[in-house]
């Protein structure tokens, strides 16, 4: 049996996993700002980016509250943690985001496909939180699910448009699918802190059932027998992670406490 304090530590790690994953994907998508293929889509992808960062803020605020209540039990030496200190002052190994979120943004095909793969997963995950015991997580999930539904609609239409588009767009979608697929296995391997998610096999099935018709319409075939990467949930990251954290954290680390 776990003690209450152990349970709380697991919950904190789980909330940080949700926060980190959304923050890093939000940061990656924000790299499109002023680089979008067309003005309207530049705004669309940065809107999604802001949705994700908004979700991460809700999770960070909750994590900070839990950590402060639990002061002393965390690895961090303070009891006045905030959403900002969690986002800006933790190190690579402390971040628990999924590996797929930290991969470079590459081209539009990679970006829209990654959004689809992740959003379909987060929709199933948030539905578990919505119906779970934790009132705070349930409230965050309820708000986020409306945003996620739009992200799925937007990204699935792009995947179909490019997959079933010109020779070049189809080719680029295929390259993106082959590059990103090895990072989808990690979605469904429960980390020790994911005690409230007990049915990852069902989540995986849901995910496949939602994804397959989209890929069929996009004339894309799912890669078979692929070696699946993992480690992000445990803080073991790709070589890209340090660079994105440097981008994200540079200002707060160079000018501690700087404000707008």
């Amino acid at each position: 049996m776990l003690t209450d304090s152990q349970k709380k530590n697991l919950l904190i790690d789980f909330v940080l996993f949700l926060a980190d994953t959304n923050l890093i994907l939000g940061q990656r998508n924000a790299e499109w700002c002023a680089h979008g293929p067309i003005l309207e889509q530049d705004i669309a992808i940065t809107n999604i980016s802001l949705d994700l960062i908004g979700q991460s803020r809700n999770f960070y605020q909750y994590a900070a509250k839990l950590l402060n209540e639990n002061a002393g039990a965390s690895q961090l030496p303070h009891n006045d943690l905030t959403e900002d200190s969690l986002a800006y002052l933790r190190t690579e190994r402390e971040f628990k985001n999924l590996l797929i979120t930290e991969l470079p943004k590459q081209d539009w095909a990679h970006t829209v496909l990654r959004q689809l793969l992740y959003s379909l997963y987060s929709q199933s995950l948030y539905n578990r939180l919505l119906n779970g015991h934790d009132v705070q997580l349930s409230a965050i999930a309820e708000k986020a699910l409306k945003e996620v539904a739009y992200h799925i609609k937007w990204s699935s239409e792009w995947v179909i448009r490019l997959g079933d588009g010109t020779d070049e767009s189809h080719e680029r979608m295929l390259i993106a699918l082959q590059a990103l697929w090895p990072y989808t296995g990690e979605f469904f391997i429960a980390a020790t802190y994911e005690t409230s998610i007990t049915d990852y096999n069902v989540i995986q099935q849901e995910w496949s059932e939602k994804l397959t018709p989209i890929l069929i319409q996009a004339t894309l075939e799912v890669p078979q027998n692929v070696f699946m990467q993992k480690g992000g949930k445990q803080g073991i990251h790709t070589e890209h992670m340090g660079f994105i954290l440097a981008d994200l954290q540079y200002l707060q680390r160079t000018y501690p406490g700087a404000e707008w």
Binding site: A34, H35, P37, I38, L39, E40, Q41, I43, A44, N47, K153, W154, E157, R161
Partner: protein, 124 residues
């Protein structure tokens, strides 16, 4: 010999490529004719009319609605969106303004301002 001079701005190129193929690709994507123009109409709340909000580029009607959602309603400006491809809108010719609109100028009696309204009527 013709020299082509273009202004280049931050963000025109990817991080690695110094123009070349990428620059050509970007030009193709930004080609004026690549995606048609759409006019966007937004209803700000139930009961009000849709009002013209602006225009944007999109490949099809679905994308035009989504683009309009992202461009014109991100600050809660609307509850409903209409889009119509700009080419389907027919307009008056500015050259005919005189004959079309000026004859109304001296017909002020068409404004209902010559009646005494009872006080009980609030919204006129």
């Amino acid at each position: 010999m013709k020299t082509f001079i273009g202004k280049q701005l931050y963000g025109d190129f990817g991080e690695q490529e110094p123009g070349g193929e990428i620059a050509k690709e970007k030009k193709a994507m930004h080609d004026e004719d690549a995606w048609p123009l759409w006019e966007v109409f937004i209803r700000s709340k139930q009961g009000l009319d849709h009002k013209h909000a602006g225009s944007l580029k999109a490949a099809d009607a679905q994308m035009a609605i989504e683009n309009a959602r992202d461009v014109y309603t991100r600050r809660q400006e609307g509850v409903s969106i209409w889009v119509v491809e700009s080419k389907h809108i027919h307009a008056t010719n500015p050259g005919e303004s005189e004959s079309l609109f000026e004859p109304a100028e001296d017909k002020i009696y068409r404004h209902p301002t010559f009646y005494d309204l009872p006080d009980e009527i609030k919204h006129m």
